[in-house]
């Protein structure tokens, strides 16, 4: 009898399993994995100095794929979780990127008088850790390697967010709208200067 009941319960669980799993998935489904890439940034590899104050200090080009269906806009944040009081130190915040965009070009303008490239027309920059609505690249102390998270968010709506949002304000505004996210995570270390500071 006991054996029979066990088989019955097991059968019930097998029948109910797919339904329960589906409900569970809806409750905790992580955002779809957006595939983020960059012509000149690779996860785990050193950034080129062009994207730092040791070079031109321009923003890197980025691309994304596996975009979730229904994506209407994108946002990108670059942050260093090894700095900041409290962390992270934010290097870049850009949002209102149209859902048709396939990525970001290199050297997004830092002058508001210069229009955004056509492919990302309407894109808006938020405030970084220096309270400037522009990209500023990494400049860690000499001899320390820091990690930089370039995170891309796919959103289900064009939220038409106002300019100058901080990262925290952006994350708050995006709550409930993130269909997927992905990142590329390069590192950077400054070399020993050739002349003493």
């Amino acid at each position: 009898m006991t054996h029979f009941l066990s088989l019955l319960l097991l059968g019930s669980a097998l029948l109910a399993g797919p339904v329960a799993a589906s409900v569970f998935a809806q409750a905790v489904a992580p955002a779809a994995k957006l595939v983020v890439d960059s012509p000149r940034l690779k996860s785990g590899e050193p950034m080129h100095k062009d994207f730092t104050p040791d070079g031109r200090n321009v923003s890197p080009a980025m691309t994304w794929s596996n975009v979730p269906e229904g994506t209407k806009a994108f946002a990108v944040v670059c942050a260093d979780f090894g700095a900041g009081l409290p962390p992270p130190w934010v290097h870049w915040v850009i949002y209102n990127i149209p859902g048709t965009a396939k990525g970001l070009p290199e050297a997004v303008p830092i002058d508001p008088a210069v229009p955004m490239p056509a492919a990302i027309a309407g894109a808006t920059q938020g405030l970084n850790g220096w309270k400037r609505a522009i990209y500023r690249g990494p400049a860690p102390p000499v001899g320390t390697t820091h990690v930089y998270y370039f995170t891309v968010y796919a959103l289900d709506a064009d939220l038409k967010l106002k300019p100058n949002l901080t990262r925290a304000e952006l994350l708050d505004a995006m709550k409930g709208h993130i269909l997927g996210q992905g990142d590329v995570v390069p590192v950077y270390e400054r070399r020993v200067p050739r002349t003493a500071e």
Partner: protein, 267 residues
């Protein structure tokens, strides 16, 4: 994206510099009404270099070129009116370095050398040859302290050099023209400062409140009440710097994180 990329936004400049205007010994008689010595863009600067310009007394030609290009980006000429070039802020600094600011001449010389090295190392060109956008980018990196640690050789933080140049540029823009800057009262006109007055009538006060009081364009030293003998000179190279405005970039968050003195490591 409404935030200006300029190192000092016109908005911040006007907000804080208005305090200078209110406090400045004002007026306007001794402004050197000479043509701008350099233009705000590299192309114009190159053209300007081809024509005679007023001599610099303390700085080398190369330092003067850099300083003119820097002040042109700090307070550019735009739709709001003339900027630091027209105010002769660079000449004010040059002359002051032979006088009241003489103690800072070494900081200027070392700073210019490091600044030049930083531009060449990071952007591949001298500052004066960079397009305005790249010039702004360089200045932002110097202002934030991010140029420190590059091997350019800034003494301490690059931000210290930036702050020094910026403060003196403001003095040259908004100080009394008696001291050699604020030529033609362009700084006070930019602020809407009507000038020093020894007497203000009720009618003047009412016009001032309506923002309709025309500037008198007179230096404080045009009034007998101000004694040039006790003003520590002016054109005799013994002049003092003008009033110092509050610094809008004092906000700690605008300084590079590892230069805030509170972090054990940077970003």
């Amino acid at each position: 994206m409404s935030e200006t990329p300029r190192v000092i936004s016109r908005r911040d400049l006007l907000r804080t510099a208005s305090a200078v205007g209110a406090a400045a010994v004002a007026g306007g008689g001794e402004a050197a009404a000479q043509a701008p010595a350099a233009a705000a863009t590299p192309a114009a600067a190159a053209a300007a270099a081809a024509r005679p310009r007023e001599a610099y007394e303390t700085l080398t030609a190369r330092e003067a070129d850099m300083l003119e290009a820097i002040v042109a980006r700090l307070i550019p000429s735009d739709a709001n009116g003339p900027g630091a070039i027209e105010a002769r802020a660079a000449h004010y600094i040059d002359r002051s370095l032979a006088g009241a600011l003489h103690a800072e001449i070494d900081a200027y010389r070392a700073g210019f050398a490091a600044f030049d090295r930083y531009c060449r190392m990071s952007r591949g060109k001298p500052f004066v040859e960079l397009p305005p956008g790249d010039q702004d980018s360089v200045l932002i990196d110097v202002e934030s302290g991010a140029a420190t640690g590059t091997g350019a050789g800034f003494a301490g933080s690059s931000a210290a050099f930036f702050t020094m140049v910026k403060q003196h540029t403001w003095q040259g823009m908004f100080g009394d023209p008696y001291y050699g800057g604020n030529a033609d009262f362009v700084g006070w006109d930019l602020l809407g400062y009507p000038g020093v007055r020894t007497m203000v009538t009720a009618a003047d006060q009412q016009r001032l409140e309506r923002n309709q009081l025309p500037p008198n364009h007179r230096s404080a030293y045009d009034f007998d009440g101000f004694n040039k003998a006790t003003a520590r000179g002016g054109h005799d190279h013994d002049h003092g710097p003008g009033p110092m405005p509050d610094d809008p970039t004092d906000d700690l968050a605008q300084v590079h994180p590892y230069e805030q003195g509170e972090l054990t490591h940077g970003d």
